[in-house]
């Protein structure tokens, strides 16, 4: 990705190339593209919203679309845009609420880089706004229940979905595969981290077996829920998807590190566990929400976040991406480690659900 040419979809040439490609994809005789506006949000990819008028073909009429193009930087641990599109498509096919993935283009001759097109979904996805503004997202119990329902639905994506054959299956189990992955990450880091080692040893000795592998979103939390005043409008950011344990996303969702200081509201600082769990169970969620097992996956979530934060700090210190935000993120693992030690202590005393 080092030599990609800059892309600005507000330029006429790029719009003409996109319009021509949309016409050939849909069998339209003409596609008019206008009203292109950049969208913020993604740290890796570029996003634009636009209006497209299709003449003829399967998409005849006016449509509001979002174009997502591969950014200049990539994260080694995340899926590329084409694979992410395949995951979002599979989740949508399983009934999950996702901004409808429409087409994906791997041909660099169109926009100079791969891109994906989805239907525009109105709403905002911002963790802090959602935690602070209780009006946002409609009724809180209903929002929490739909977060549970969505998770149950995405877990119905069949393991043998051919377009998802690229997603690895963790060996010997999701829990132990994570432990090995995180230890390897720590070994690549110059400074030893005894508290994370303590957490990993506990996770290894108390590893939970996984009865059935399911599709894991991988970043299922408050900041990736697009909401409007009526409720959940879409689950975003499928680039960390993998096969794993049904409780992986639950533990990530309810981990203390995503509560925006509302430690009294376990589900992402939004509300109590009960509403979420009701939605998950009523929609047929296959995971057993045993409090000790959820607690285990919350410890895993904290270790994972600490590892990610260490990586972000290294993006600054290596000189690749000098950034105050990344530098400060690199100091966060200390407080995450305190939480890990606290949670292990709680587990040993049989205290769960905090």
């Amino acid at each position: 990705m080092a030599d990609v040419t800059p892309l600005d979809l507000q330029e006429a040439d790029a719009q003409a190339a996109l319009a021509g490609w949309l016409a050939s994809e849909t069998g339209a005789t003409d596609v008019a593209v206008g009203g292109v506006e950049p969208l913020g949000g993604g740290a890796i990819h570029l996003h634009w919203r636009l209006d497209a008028t299709f003449t003829g073909g399967a998409f005849e009429g006016d449509h509001e679309l979002v174009v997502r193009a591969a950014g200049d930087a990539t994260l080694a641990e995340s899926l590329d845009l084409v694979r992410e599109f395949a995951v979002a498509r599979a989740a949508a096919d399983a009934g999950a609420t996702v901004p409808e993935p429409l087409w994906c283009c791997e041909d660099d001759s169109v926009l100079g880089r791969p891109f994906a097109v989805s239907r525009f979904a109105p709403g905002v996805a911002a963790a802090h706004l959602l935690v602070r503004n209780e009006e946002l997202g409609g009724s809180r119990p209903a929002l929490l229940a739909s977060i549970g329902e969505e998770l149950a639905r995405l877990q119905t994506v069949p393991l043998e979905t051919p377009p998802l054959a690229f997603l690895p299956k963790p060996e010997p189990s999701p829990a132990l595969a994570y432990v090995a992955e995180f230890r390897a990450a720590l070994d690549a880091h110059p400074r030893p981290r005894p508290a994370l080692e303590w957490g990993l040893r506990w996770l290894e000795r108390n590893a939970r077996p996984t009865a059935q592998l399911v599709l894991v979103h991988g970043d299922y939390r408050n900041g990736n829920f697009m909401v409007d005043d009526d409720g959940l409008r879409g689950v975003l950011d499928w680039e960390f998807a993998r096969w794993g344990d049904p409780l992986e996303d639950v533990g990530w969702l309810t981990a203390r590190c995503w509560r925006a200081n509302r430690f009294d509201r376990p589900v992402g600082g939004l509300g109590p566990r009960e509403d979420f769990e009701r939605g998950y169970r009523e929609a047929g969620g296959i995971g057993d929400l045993d409090p000790a097992a959820v607690h285990y996956w919350e410890v895993m979530a904290h270790v994972r976040w600490a590892i990610i934060a260490i990586h972000q700090g290294e993006r600054h210190t290596s000189g690749r991406q000098p950034s105050l935000e990344l530098a400060l993120t690199g100091r966060i693992p200390d407080e995450v480690e305190i939480e890990i030690l606290t949670m292990i202590d709680e587990a040993e005393r049989g205290e769960f659900g905090g």
Binding site: R191, P192, P194, E197, L200, L328, E335, E337
Partner: protein
Amino acid sequence: MAEQHGALDGLDGVELLRIASETLMEQVGPAVPGDRRYELLMANNAIGIASRELEAGEGPGRAALARLEALYGESPTDDDWRGRLSELTARFAADIRSGAFDEGPRRDAALAHVREATLDAVRVGNPRYLQRRGIE
């Protein structure tokens, strides 16, 4: 470091960072547009961390070294204490991984060290977190 001229006049690094932070927040802050406020707060946070780190000095590191030396029955040394701390910390991390502290009499001392070293880091990085969580 603390023996330099300015420091003797009460103008040590901690004091300079304190007045820098105050100036940034009280005088520059009101002129910063809303969409740059996040950067302002991050810069101020960074100043706070640097100041607490300066104030803590060698204390946490030397205390960590003393705990590790006691854990491993090594005699205290003053030569290259930082190098010695890195060495023992690496050994400690590897021992945790291999299960040396899973059980037995050294487990409590090992856990106490992990906890104390982590607390010292958070006291510098984000002491408010410890208050919010009721830890301190």
